[in-house]
Symmetry: C2
Subunit: 340 residues, 2 copies
Amino acid sequence: MGLDDRKLAVLRAIVEDYVSTQEPVGSKALVERHQLGVSPATVRNDMAVLEEEGYIRQPHTSAGRVPTDRGYRLFVDRLSRVKPLSPAERRAIERFLVGAVDLDDVVHRTVRLLAQLTRQVAVVQYPSLARSSVRHLELVPISTTRLMLVMIADTGRVEQRLVELPGPVPADDVTDLRRLINEKLANARLSETPPLVQALVEEAPTGLRPTMTTLASVLLETLVERHEERIALAGTANLTRGGLLDFQGSLRPILEALEEEVVLLKLIGETEPSTTRVLIGDENEFDNLRAASVVSTGYGPGTTIVGGLGVLGPTRMDYPGNIATVRAVARYVGELLAQN
Amino acid sequence: MGLDDRKLAVLRAIVEDYVSTQEPVGSKALVERHQLGVSPATVRNDMAVLEEEGYIRQPHTSAGRVPTDRGYRLFVDRLSRVKPLSPAERRAIERFLVGAVDLDDVVHRTVRLLAQLTRQVAVVQYPSLARSSVRHLELVPISTTRLMLVMIADTGRVEQRLVELPGPVPADDVTDLRRLINEKLANARLSETPPLVQALVEEAPTGLRPTMTTLASVLLETLVERHEERIALAGTANLTRGGLLDFQGSLRPILEALEEEVVLLKLIGETEPSTTRVLIGDENEFDNLRAASVVSTGYGPGTTIVGGLGVLGPTRMDYPGNIATVRAVARYVGELLAQN
DNA sequence: ACTGGCACTCGCTACAGTCGAGTGCCAGGA
DNA sequence: TCCTGGCACTCGACTGTAGCGAGTGCCAGT
């Protein structure tokens, strides 16, 4: 297609102006604010082509142009120049993440930081159990027939389950069970535990067999099969910026989608290694979010990825800025996790 | 003042109609829908008095009347009849809360249930550490100079902290420390632990003294002094019901307030024993929430209270219904906690 | 291939007019 | 004394009209 350099420059200018002013941009204003070196009439011709190709559209005749989802896509893929973080932002990130006392704290600080820097809704997935390894499993007697099973993962996550035992178990047996379980499972990746757990049951001394069977089923069911994912959210108030223009005036569907963990996980989890993913408007699979865009990436200590994080906002968002911020925050969080 | 029975009945009718229709209610519509036994003109006179007393107001001349915050207050205090839960609601509550596997699960189910039943924003405070007792304290070695301290409370809460030790500590010492700590602190209320922790340090064998001192300071600082409160939230999408009429068109301040844990705790925590608290409009102390009302109560096993829960919505809400639901849910959650 | 000029479109705003729900007040009646 | 029907009045909501102006598409000229 005839998308020469100048037409691309026009598209870029339209996106940049529309993102910052939130108003349809006309040919005259364009040449005034950008050094395009041509007259408004020429720009109009280019705009006509861009519109024909589906990159921009007119809300109505005799209004300026607005980028379409497709236009944003082209912008993100080929036109946006990387926007380096400001020193102030760098400092904010560093300051924000020091002094976190535990994983909860890290995640909460991170999600607030992201929301604050990008002025969008921020989402952070806790390190996924599926990608964690067992650091320690603890059995805490609650009563003679009840145990609390506490699993501590290398990523810092701590999960606990109340286990109803088939019969009373003396304290010494608990000690034995604890030792057996830890010998077998310590340092194993959670995704690889099922055969180990199976072996635990088979190798257990006869006396401990029934209890071990119960423990094993709880272990498998709650910690492995339905791997509990957790999510933190912040900055929903940012959805109301831009008045009622974004999201065509109704926050309803967005807020509903944000309450569904499954939706959020689909959006920010499952990301390919170390790339930043950008979903624009109807590119994402949820009808409720067809007016929104998502910028997300994975994070983790070193080069491994244990979870995802990202931001969600109107399609009219500052993609270069948000991409840079999301990447930077993910990198810092990864470093933080690597220290532990 | 001259608030005879009929005037009160008129106020009640106004509140009920306005809550259900969301439109200013006029004298004619009132007598049609309620059996007041008098003519519109009489009702108009009563309305004039009610307005003079500040219980209702006119959005503008020649519009119907709308209750003021003061009007809602009178309604809640003296006029609302208890609204029994429907069997369907009872069943929903029971169904919703069975099968919860741990505290997180209970809290999440509860908050979603509340949001669904009341169609408002629901808030549930996790059992407060300050009102919990220690069930068990576990020390998990992470490396030679690092321990993870895990506290399990009788309310089901589990808190963990990474502790940086002053020097390497052999495994046997960890066992000793664990025993000492648990002997001293098990079953103690967290609010009463400081002197016990102090004693722990003083009574510790010389070899363990430095490590115990570190542990003690972490214990005191993170578990007692700044008692970590946690909160779950659901149903924010309900804020968008009623179009832009409630909250004078801007959800902004509400969403901002909902992101502040401190605010939420003030709203639903700190409640007097076993009463249901209703905060109407500007009765609450936060400017951001002066267009909202909160119905909250405490919950806990038996008659003790370990946390709060409640709902938040527009002042124009179904107070009797929400009060009944909040109470019922709190009672069920209490029973659930008592079982553990 | 670009530019200046020009006619045209159409949303936005302001203004005037109508409609009707709802009110306050008053005189008359139980 | 309290209630009622009647009546004039208020004022927001809605409708229709007109003028404005930003922005466009097209075309002839350089």
